[in-house]
């Protein structure tokens, strides 16, 4: 059986579980033929799914719920990432120590293309406008890399624990010179990499069967990553067509990722879901979602996966 998975970003250890499952033949054992499509900047996985270019996508929940409100019936079928890896990283010399007081008047780097929702929620809870000015923050659409921080174009930038933070360190800035704020610690964490399909897919029992196999094999992949981060990094590297990744960086990423997947068996925890929804609903004047979503998740696939 054939399945196409659309990733949220370029080939890197963030998606090691899937690559390992493919490489180690976990999918094959289940009788699946899986194609993994790497993503990239400005590729919206939700749009690819809507266009029929993929069967399953890896997406963050805020973007998925926003798409659902826009009329694209996305359903979360599994949640391999238990924790959020998002944080805001600031230079110590910018003088920021307390998010509730020090952000006003500063420039902050934020990712857009559907990744901006957690940030907007957070700023709303802090009561900060994102339109700039004395008592708001100036938002800069952060490009592909950590340059805005290194060039001091922004006081803080968005980073992932497993990726951009490492890049900042690699660039030669010591951890002592940095201040970081994890969304997790600020109480605004939202669920990250989950697996989503269209509602209609779940009406087809054969498809559900295949998805169950897929989730089971993928989780097996993630377990493997947690146990063998270095080898997993190698596997990811083999699958990277650009040849730009380095083993050091990917190995560290695999280790950091393992911290986020730890404790997840793929089943979405309703409490986590509710926390994400609540955070998003609090989104202020331009809320990410305006009403409590319904049917945005389903356990049928994970239940089936566990049953066999």
């Amino acid at each position: 059986e054939e399945l196409t998975l659309q990733l949220k970003w370029v080939t890197q250890a963030q998606f090691a579980g899937y690559y390992v499952a493919l490489d180690q033949g976990f999918y094959e054992e289940e009788g699946l033929e899986v194609t993994i499509k790497p993503g990239g900047p400005d590729i919206a996985p939700t749009q690819v799914l809507a266009g029929g270019g993929a069967d399953v996508i890896v997406e963050w929940m805020p973007a998925a719920l926003a798409a659902r409100e826009k009329g694209l019936p996305l359903v979360n079928i599994a949640q391999p990432f238990k924790k959020s890896g998002m944080m805001l990283t600031c230079l110590k010399e910018s003088g920021i120590t307390d998010p509730t007081k020090d952000f006003a008047g500063k420039t902050l780097g934020v990712w857009f293309s559907g990744n901006e929702y957690p940030f907007l929620s957070w700023m709303h809870t802090l009561g900060l406008s994102t339109e700039g000015g004395e008592d708001g923050v100036t938002v800069l659409k952060q490009g592909f890399n950590v340059d805005p921080l290194l060039q001091k174009q922004a006081a803080c930038i968005s980073t992932m624990t497993y990726n951009e933070y490492g890049q900042v360190l690699d660039a030669g800035i010591a951890p002592e010179d940095l201040v970081t704020f994890k969304y997790e610690d600020q109480g605004v964490a939202t669920l990250e990499d989950g697996l989503y399909v269209l509602e209609s897919t779940l009406e087809d029992d054969a498809k559900v069967e295949a998805l169950a196999k897929f989730v089971r094999a993928s989780m097996k992949g993630w377990r493997y990553v947690e146990e063998n981060p270095d080898e997993s990094a190698e596997i990811v590297l083999d699958n990277d067509e650009t040849g730009a990744q380095t083993i050091e960086h990917q190995a560290r990423m695999a280790q950091e990722i393992a911290k986020l997947t730890a404790g997840s068996d793929g089943v979405l925890d309703e409490a986590d879901y509710q926390r994400t929804v609540d955070t998003l609903l609090a989104g202020g004047s331009d809320p990410v979602i305006s009403k409590e979503p319904e049917g945005a998740w389903s356990h049928v696939v994970t239940d089936k996966a566990a049953a066999e």
Binding site: A44, Q47, A50, A66, L72, S113, T138, D147, Q151
Partner: protein, 302 residues
């Protein structure tokens, strides 16, 4: 008349194959055929008004066909929104679109285009007297012009910050060499007799530059300016992908795609197309006024 019959046969063939591929296409093909026949009839008059009408009808037909196809095949709006939805989004978002237009086109593209153009013209005049520099600079210029902007953009964003200044810098880099090359060619465009005349009057360099070379270079300069109008827009928009404040057309397009607000994306594209056509049209109009004497302008009557 014979040619008319041939063309008709051709259209019938297209019609039949179209219907064979998908019978649902019948109304689409019918509208197309009617519009085409009407246009063919209209094109015969060949006046300024009918030329405009023909182009307009062609455009409207395309839009009508687009709307029909989207509806007939129920194409999801997440892939291709219908023109009616795009228009609705356009109307609903005019203040937003205006802000983006100012940020990207007025501040980014226009500033960069003017700076780049001015720099190119001055450079051309500076190297005009030195064949050595010309021979050395132009091939390298062509090489630099071939550098894909997408590669330069992140670097310039890194250098000039994320606001419109870096977009203008990208535009400067993009338009500089095409204008330079045209201007250098233009300054060399005087024929030998015209230069000899200046020599028999013992004209100093400044006079012959001002009274002969610059006027003679205008058609070439405007050629370069026209080509670069669309380049300037593209450069300013694409550069926003590599970092921008939270306004601008490139910013809006990428975030709107992320939010699956496709009608807004297309409304931005519409703004870009209108602005680009206007920009081009205005430059062409100025060209007409400035180079009224050039054969290519004189022959365009009626």
């Amino acid at each position: 008349m014979l040619i008319g019959l041939e063309a008709l046969a051709g259209w019938l063939a297209i019609l039949v194959t179209g219907l064979l591929i998908s019978p649902k296409l019948a109304p689409v093909l019918l509208v197309w055929l009617c519009a085409w026949i009407f246009n063919t009839w209209l094109a015969r008059f060949d006046t300024r008004l009918t030329r405009f009408l023909v182009a307009l009808i062609f455009g409207l037909t395309i839009i009508a066909l687009w709307e029909m196809i989207v509806r007939i095949y129920a194409i999801p709006p997440l892939i291709l929104p219908a023109p009616s939805r795009i228009a609705a989004s356009f109307v609903a978002n005019i203040p937003l679109l205006w802000g983006d237009f100012v940020q990207t086109i007025v501040k980014g593209a226009l500033t960069g285009w003017i700076l780049g153009g001015a720099a190119a013209v001055l450079t051309a005049i500076a190297i005009d007297r030195s064949p050595f520099l010309q021979r050395g600079l132009l091939p390298i210029g062509n090489f630099v012009a071939a550098l894909p902007i997408v590669g330069i953009a992140p670097i310039l964003v890194m250098w000039f910050g994320f606001d419109w200044q870096s977009k203008a810098a990208v535009v400067v880099v993009m338009v500089f060499f095409p204008i330079l090359v045209n201007m250098v060619a233009g300054l060399a465009a005087t024929d030998r007799m015209q230069r000899d005349q200046m020599a028999t009057w013992a004209a100093p360099y400044g006079q012959s530059l001002w009274k002969m070379r610059l006027p003679a270079a205008m058609p070439f300069l405007f050629n370069g300016l026209k080509i670069t109008t669309t380049l300037a827009l593209i450069g300013a928009i694409v550069a926003e992908f590599f970092g921008s404040p939270t306004t601008g057309m490139g910013f809006r397009i990428s975030t709107a795609v992320g939010r699956l607000d496709l009608p807004l994306v297309w409304a931005e594209i519409l703004v870009a197309a209108i602005a680009g056509s206007l920009f081009y049209g205005i430059v062409a109009l100025i060209e007409k006024k400035v180079t009224f004497w050039h054969p290519s302008q004189r022959n365009q009557r009626g």
